[in-house]
Amino acid sequence: MSAAELFTQASYLAASVLFILGLRSLTKPDSARRGMQQAAVGMLLAIVGTLTKEEIVDYKFIIAGLSVGTVIGYPLGMFVPMTAMPQRIAISHMFGALAATLVGIAEFYTLGDGAQVSHATMAALGFEVMFGALTITGSFMAFGKLQEFLPGVPVTFRGQNAVSGVLFAVTVGLFAWLVYQPHTPWAFYVMCVLGLFIGVSLVLPIGGADMPVVISLLNSYAGLASSATGFAIGNEVLIIAGALDGASGFILSMVMSKAMNRSFSNILFGAFGKPPEKGAKAATGLAVKPVSAEDAAIQLGYARSVIVVPGYGMAVAQAQHAVRELADLIEKNGGEVKYAIHPVAGRMPGHMNVLLAEANIPYDKLKEMEEINGEFRNTDVALVIGANDVVNPAARNDRSSPIYGMPILNVDQAKSVIVMKRSMNPGFAGIENELFYNDRTTMLFGDAKSSLEKLVAEVKMNAAG
């Protein structure tokens, strides 16, 4: 081993250790920032270690790629608003998968279109390119749905299951053939293209509310594609980083599907060919009680304990700063404010926590579901902001409801409930919510942000008067 080679390998080893330590630092919010900065140093080391490799003879394209990437990456890192985080993460899965896939194709082409590829390497290359390709288009579809230039509702057509099934079977068949006979260029390139189609057919039929699972799953796929790249080109740091990413995405998908009481396969294939079911209980004959901002403000002004339940509606209205302003006022009046975060509130894991942290709310007030569910019964006011399915009691007591069995926040046990909502349209799952018809529930209609601003003004006036 030459000195240069030794340096490269040492930099990879250091990077791997720093990556693992960086992820470990994320187990505690206080240590997280420093840990991730160390991981970034690890990345820099690995890049420098690679650039000193003897194989690299031409730096023109490298410098061009690094420059263009930095110019695009910097604004994506610094200026994207926190409310746009789900689509930001989705598009970055696409970039990650794109890099892995292109490296795989370059490798295959360079090795005589497969002529010099061993069976084992072909298995890695095939896996890399197949998973990479489906993650590219899948992530782009997710991005489109979250950015709302593609319909957020599930897109389905007759025979969709059959089409997807055949597509998948053919792709896997080509993959198997390639492992058996690596020097089959046409099979390789057709497999790439079919992979792209699989990504589309996988995400198209999935609705907006299931996005947390899809994003986690794509995270996992992007990681596995990176890992497979490591196998294909014999690079351990890629295998390690990809495995970490794969594990993380896998765990997050498990957490998300558990929080929705649904299996993986149900989310991935559940939407095929069937529109969202209507809730078994129609809300005919029941009336909701609308409330004015003035009355709601009086209620909040006297409350000793308030639990805020944020949902996707808060993110859409960008209302997190108004929430914090209201909470400050309630606290000034001597009340206590906590936040109940359902694991699938929002469009990606941890979405609500980031938004509330952005509004400068200390993280010890952000409570997980298990932690806070017992406290609702002693709470004066539960303030639901743009959340729907995660507070629907039908999940607890209506066996015929599509969300039956999903763990929910016990908002209906609070002494009173104020629901902020744009209109009476049911949520993404298209299910009626009994909570809205509860005796103790009042509805404050309107955009979450402007409603909150009205509340803030009213509470201030009451306190002054």
């Binding site: 992820l23 970034a40 690299i56 031409d58 794109l98 690079n235 594990a247 010890d364």
Partner: protein, 112 residues
């Protein structure tokens, strides 16, 4: 199968195991930063892209490598920056966060 592939499989399984052990302990509070962090880390595929773009083997590999370097660099730069931006915002009670508390406005309220 060659011995190197077997060793690589060991590395993969053990790394996945370590990842599983650590990541199950990450609180749901930090799940979004976790996702952007793992995304940035897996952009280590930049290492493979650099070799493809710079080893001057053939034109196809060079160009594909160039695009791959660009895509991976976006994730490295953007990923670590955005993770840092998010983590900076998480603060415990009693400590002023990055934005600080709007004290002047409060003072005005008290007068009124």
């Amino acid at each position: 199968m060659q011995t190197t592939s077997i060793i690589e499989l060991y590395v993969f399984v053990l790394a996945g195991f370590v990842g599983f052990q650590i990541i199950t302990r990450v609180p749901s509070l930090l799940h979004t930063p976790l996702m952007s962090a793992t995304n940035a880390i897996s952009a280590i595929s930049l290492v493979g892209s650099l070799v493809a773009a710079g080893s001057d083997k053939n034109r196809v590999a060079t160009w594909l490598g160039f695009v791959a370097v660009t895509a991976a660099t976006i994730n490295v730069v953007g990923g670590f920056l955005i993770t840092d931006r998010m983590l900076k915002m998480f603060r415990p009670a009693g400590k002023a966060g990055a934005g600080g508390r709007p004290l002047p406005r409060k003072a005005k309220e008290d007068e009124g």
